[in-house]
Symmetry: C2
Subunit: 126 residues, 2 copies
């Protein structure tokens, strides 16, 4: 398998409190996001914190998707890392929409290709 | 909980084939790395691929650690993301040593603080 991968880091702000605090909905969103991007789901692990917040991961054959949510700040920290021909932005876009993000900071890092460099950096209102 | 976090991305090259292909040893290394950095382990999920390779995650109260290994290339793709007062480099250093990495590309990204910027980028022979 080739080492080359694409790692999208998305900082989502202005998200809905309830959506960021619903572990079942977040887990379903992440599995759906993985499948929509054409990934094969291997492991799913999500955790609900008290009094609020969710962390979780979907391990895919092509790498992973993770989230850490901070409902009290309307913030979700998202990573979508894929290798092969998949486009991680498909999953990242789907997640941003599902969580009701109002703004999104997005960078994409190449992985497994030598020195790490930021390929793309942008902030946008959604 | 504060949104501020530190995300270390390490590209490890020249690692030992057997170490990169041993899912039990990698899982133990990652749990140990989390504990050494002072993290609280919440979820552990690792997967062994055929014919080789391991992907996995340790979800900690303070975010996560992930790996994707490519034994045939001597390459492991590592993420250590912590929030709070933890130093993600403690875990990343421990993992690099445990996997026998000969070279390491390392960047650290601030998370949850606004636009994402690369804080540190370096390549070093180990």
């Amino acid at each position: 398998m080739e080492t080359m991968g694409r790692h999208v880091i998305s900082e989502l702000w202005g998200c809905d409190f309830e959506k960021l605090n619903n572990v079942e909905q977040i887990e379903q969103t992440f599995v759906d996001a993985a499948l929509k991007s054409g990934a094969e789901v291997r492991e799913v692990a999500f955790h609900k914190f008290a009094p609020q917040g969710v962390s979780g991961v979907v391990i895919i054959s092509e790498s992973h998707l993770t989230i850490h949510s901070f409902p009290e700040h309307g913030y979700a920290s998202i990573d979508v890392y894929t290798c092969g021909d998949l486009d991680p932005n498909i999953a990242a876009d789907y997640i941003a929409e599902a969580l009701g993000a109002q703004t999104r900071e997005n960078i994409e890092l190449p992985r497994g290709m030598g020195p790490v460099q930021v390929k793309q950096s942008k902030v946008k209102a959604l």
